[in-house]
Symmetry: C2
Subunit: 230 residues, 2 copies
């Protein structure tokens, strides 16, 4: 059933996003649904990385995906080929999702039969970092061609994430990206962030990422899952 | 004098950006200052492209540069090495510049002795496209690693620009970027847009871009320059 629905997200009219994000996080904990918010610039490889991640996790977890874009369904169409449950969210020009918009997406996706939901956020390093979506885990992708100086220019994003995937490492010989310099920047901004160099195209490094992610999900479920079977 | 100042931009409190952009454009026409608004995702190569463009144009025109970022001065510091007049604008977390913010930057840069001002906008394909800055020419960069499907996902940006630079073409062998497919998308969205494949790193294609830009500036100056000598 390689199909997906499209939801036109309504703009949030309330203030107090932080409170609504905490409420959504608590609801998801009670329902045993692990929400991962995946962010990056346009073209960093979010969808390809997600496809590899789904491939590694889908035998162990029941997975849903929310693809957020201002327009188009190309990503939902790609993800649908993996066989997982997917919905395309259209933000109507807005450059981010907040907690209320995320809740609209989750309601439409329907999460009763899911263990994990991946939210592929809008391609953007600024607005997306400023809104807590209610996710249990915030992850970003920086691709090698973008350059190792991005933490200097988009500090809020790099400060707020739990893990950073350095994608397209197969292209390292072609670009002036210094991984040690990058790690030094992150060591100053966000020393707790996990860093995983990967190539979603060749698969290099993906196992280290999905192994870590699996252990994070298990640790979360051990604390939060109540009556829901796995 | 490889120095630059930093201006903390004040958030615009007025509405009616389109009217203020028209007013700024008319002011710049009267003063004979050609403003180019350069937009792209983070890491597409705006600063490197600007350095090459400045190199090609600086014997013919008096150039100023405004570098807009939410934080950091790395780009202004790079541009300053070219010897042109440069100012770093900090947007205080905002993901775009509007016409009023652009005017603040121009006032601080001081344009009496300039023919051209390049505005390197915040790295972003969404917000920046939604605000008319008052520029005479809107140009964007899409880099090869970002993928040829970006016009489908960020249509407003691709619809509104006068020219598109496809940067990092030296990396074409490594990425699945189909230039013909990209041109087909643009042919449907914005058939008048000029497309220039370039490599700001190797210099390939840069001359075609700067030759076209020079003719655009001359055509504009022929119409608008009044008392200002060249």
């Amino acid at each position: 059933m390689n199909t997906y629905r499209v939801l036109e997200i309504k703009k949030t009219v309330f203030s107090g996003n932080d409170e609504r994000a905490q409420k959504l996080r608590a609801d998801l904990e009670q329902r045993g649904v692990f929400l991962l918010n995946l962010m990056s610039s346009p073209g960093s490889g979010k969808t390809t990385t997600l496809m590899k991640t789904i491939g590694a996790l889908k035998d162990r977890f029941r997975i849903g995906v929310m693809e957020a874009d201002i327009d188009s369904d190309v990503d939902a169409s790609t993800i649908a080929t993996s066989g997982v449950k997917v919905i395309q969210l259209h933000t109507g020009g807005m450059c981010h999702l907040d907690a209320e918009m995320t809740r609209q997406g989750l309601d439409s996706l329907a999460t009763e039969d899911l263990d994990i939901v991946f939210l592929e956020n809008v391609g953007n390093l600024i607005c997306t970092a400023e809104y807590d979506t209610g996710a249990a885990l915030n992850v970003m992708i920086l691709s090698v061609p973008e350059g190792d100086d991005k933490p200097l220019k988009y500090p809020v994003m790099f400060q707020r994430v739990d893990a950073i995937l350095i994608n397209k490492i197969d292209a390292l010989p072609l670009f002036d990206f210094n991984l040690e310099r990058f790690k030094k920047y992150i060591g100053e901004l966000n020393p707790k962030a996990q860093i995983f160099p990967i190539s979603a195209k060749t698969g290099e490094g993906v196992e280290a990422w999905t192994t870590w992610l699996t252990s994070e999900i298990h640790a979360w479920k051990a604390i939060h899952t109540t009556g829901k079977g796995e």
